[in-house]
């Protein structure tokens, strides 16, 4: 049937269409940048490619005059460390509480309402409280990332746990499994790949909280640099940093997906 919904692009067209929006944005940027630079060659808002590549060269491949660090890499290292610890702890807590909340009725009765309410509190709105509890150091940043994503992970995993067919749980019990054995042998193996899905979905939020935390009080990090450079509109540095953060987030997502494929191959069997 000749309908738009039935028409599929071939491989070449699909690739072309995929590239198209990127090309349009880049061309539009170049046109607008040229227009501004022709009026004012020092314009900072939409710098040209050579200015941007100079900035990349300076930030990534030359030691900073004041500290001797390669700024892009030292910023990346401190940001990824904070993000890694925060997301790691959140995953652990989310995994444990999510499974218990999804499986154990007494646990659910105690914590379900609590985590639901907790997940509705915007963490950025209670920042001053977090500062007073955790100080202004590394701990506060890690905690903000963690607090930002933990409620989502718990709720997501509790729902997934509750979705396990009840027959499986009954079957295990008729075979004599205790609660502990059911958790370890039936629930955890099925829930680990779901937890990874949850982490993948919450990575965007984790980056948001990380950059917010770094913007507020910090002396290193990708978010710190962007907010510092913003003070004098150094878009030649900010734009590559934004692209780099996007790339890192994309790479992390890809890595988690590959890990999931390798570690939980059974999930992909059959399709």
């Amino acid at each position: 049937m000749r309908r738009l919904i039935n028409r599929r692009p071939d491989v070449a067209a699909r690739f072309g269409l995929m590239i198209l929006p990127f090309v349009i944005v880049i061309i539009a940027y170049m046109v607008a940048s040229d227009a501004r630079l022709s009026v004012n060659p020092n314009d900072k808002l939409l710098p040209g490619w050579s200015t941007i590549s100079d900035a990349i060269e300076r930030m990534a491949f030359q030691p900073d005059q004041r500290t001797g660090d390669y700024l892009l890499w030292s910023d990346t290292l401190s940001s990824l460390t904070r993000l890694g610890i925060g997301v790691g702890i959140a995953t652990l807590i989310g995994g444990i509480f999510g499974i218990l909340q999804g499986l154990i009725p007494y646990f659910r009765a105690s914590f379900n309402a609590f985590t639901s309410v907790l997940s509705m509190i915007p963490p950025l709105a209670v920042l001053p409280i977090l500062f007073i509890i955790f100080g202004l150091g590394e701990l506060a940043k890690v905690m903000l990332v963690m607090i930002g994503i933990v409620p989502f992970l718990i709720r997501d995993l509790a729902l997934r746990t509750a979705e396990i067919p009840h027959e499986e749980i009954i079957k295990a019990q008729t075979l004599g499994a205790s609660t502990w054995q059911i958790i370890i042998r039936i629930v955890v193996p099925q829930m680990l790949p779901r937890l990874i899905d949850g982490v993948r979905l919450s990575l965007g939020a984790a980056w948001l909280f990380l950059i917010a935390a770094e913007a507020i009080a910090s002396d290193s990090g990708l978010g710190y640099r962007i907010f510092l450079m913003r003070r004098y509109l150094a878009m030649d540095v900010i734009l590559p940093y934004v692209a780099w953060i996007t790339f890192l987030a994309f790479a992390l997502d890809l890595a988690l997906r590959l890990f999931q494929r390798v570690a939980f191959r059974w999930m992909y069997r059959g399709n």
Binding site: R2, L4, R7, G16, L20, V23, I24, V25, I27, A28, Y29, V31, A32, A35, R36, V39, N40, P41, N42, D43, K44, L45, L46, D54, A55, R58, Q65, L127, P128, F131, I132, G135, L136, G137, A215, I216, A217, S218, D219, Y224, F227, L228, R230, R231, Y232, L233
Partner: protein, 360 residues
């Protein structure tokens, strides 16, 4: 059935045109004689009169006199206001001389300080927790808004006692969170400005170890306008100058109208008359055009070099800068401090003189 076939080239071309239109909407305004002007300001003790003038018809009165339209727009974020001005969306902005040099001038936007509203005379403070001597700052972490006037005050203070920034660790902290930050145990040293500084100093263990009254005239809170716009539209400059000195005369008088104006300004900045008076005490306002002219024609070249060397040391004059004088600054008498072929910041007393002579 009609075909959906559209040449992909056409779609592509259309998309590029659409995106380009969207992007060119943020192209800089080409300067020429025009009627509508926009000026950005943000909350600060010395700039509150602008908000008052806008709300109470003084702006409209002067704009009407010169047959133009002026909109004085309040920004919640000081830096965003300067960035908007630098990008060309505004014709003028309230900024310190230091930020005017580091953002619009370093960004190639030739700017003129049309008038200086005031200079900080104690509004920027270095605060230590439990210590009373500036030298005790050695080895501490100092929370401040990095690359701001606070950073400048810290650098100048350390210089005065023979130390340098290497003796401390600077931690960039958002100004909105200074008061909350002070109450955490790991914050022991801070540089910030009023009203936050006053709030923090009210606590028992907070000591003012250095403030901007020891740097008289170095931190000038100014009205910065685009030089080209100024050249093409003297009426705009005349109106702005008229607005400012009328509001100054109103608030510096010793009568009920002055009290009412200052109360309104205090409330607009989140405090009351007493709080605003206290901030004014730490601010040297230029109430009369004569005060401004005398200051600007004084030792400005020396004060300017302090600022340019700080900016140069922190890489804020642009990556091409080879010396603190990379950007030339033209003083009111026409002499240039720094590179004469790259003048991007100018002082002028031309319009203040008209105000002094009653010619506006």
């Amino acid at each position: 059935m009609t075909s959906f076939k559209l040449s992909s080239l056409k779609i592509f071309a259309a998309a590029v045109v659409a995106m380009t239109l969207a992007f060119t909407a943020i192209s800089p305004a080409h300067a020429e004689a025009k009627k509508d002007f926009k000026v950005a300001w943000s909350i600060y003790v010395g700039w509150m009169p602008w908000g008052y003038a806008m709300d109470n018809g003084i702006v409209k009165k002067w704009a009407d006199k010169y047959d133009i339209n002026i909109e004085v727009v309040q920004f919640n974020d000081y830096i965003e206001a300067i960035n908007q001005y630098t990008a060309g969306a505004y014709d003028g902005v309230m900024a310190t001389n230091m930020d005017a040099l580091a953002i619009p001038s370093a960004g190639g936007v030739d700017s003129t300080i049309l008038l200086i509203c005031d200079y900080s005379d104690g509004n920027d403070v270095i605060i230590l927790k439990g210590k009373e001597d500036l030298a005790d700052i050695k080895g501490q972490k100092v929370n401040l808004v990095e690359l701001s006037v606070s950073h400048y005050v810290l650098a100048r203070a350390l210089e005065k006692i023979g130390m340098s920034e290497k003796d401390v660790t600077v931690v960039n902290t958002s100004d909105a969170d200074m008061i909350a930050a002070w109450s955490t145990p790991d914050v022991t040293a801070m540089t910030t400005w009023n009203p936050m500084a006053a709030e923090i100093l009210a606590q028992d263990d907070a000591y003012n170890v250095f403030d901007s009254s020891e740097l008289p005239g170095e931190i000038q809170d100014s009205l910065v306008v685009n030089t080209q716009t100024l050249k093409d539209n003297p009426a705009f400059a005349k109106a702005m100058t008229g607005i400012w000195y009328e509001t100054m005369a109103l608030m510096s008088a010793d009568d009920e109208a002055a009290t009412a104006a200052k109360t309104a300004m205090g409330e607009a900045s989140g405090t009351d008359l007493a709080g605003y008076e206290m901030q004014l005490a730490a601010t040297e306002m230029f109430y009369k055009p004569e005060d401004y002219i005398a200051f600007t024609e004084g030792n400005l070249s020396e004060l300017t070099t302090f600022v340019t060397s700080f900016l140069f040391d922190h890489g804020l004059l642009g990556q091409d800068a080879t010396s603190p004088g990379y950007i030339g600054i033209e003083l009111a008498d026409g002499t240039v401090v720094g590179d004469e072929s790259n003048v991007l910041l100018r002082y002028t007393t031309e319009y203040a003189k008209m105000a002094a002579d009653g010619e506006l």
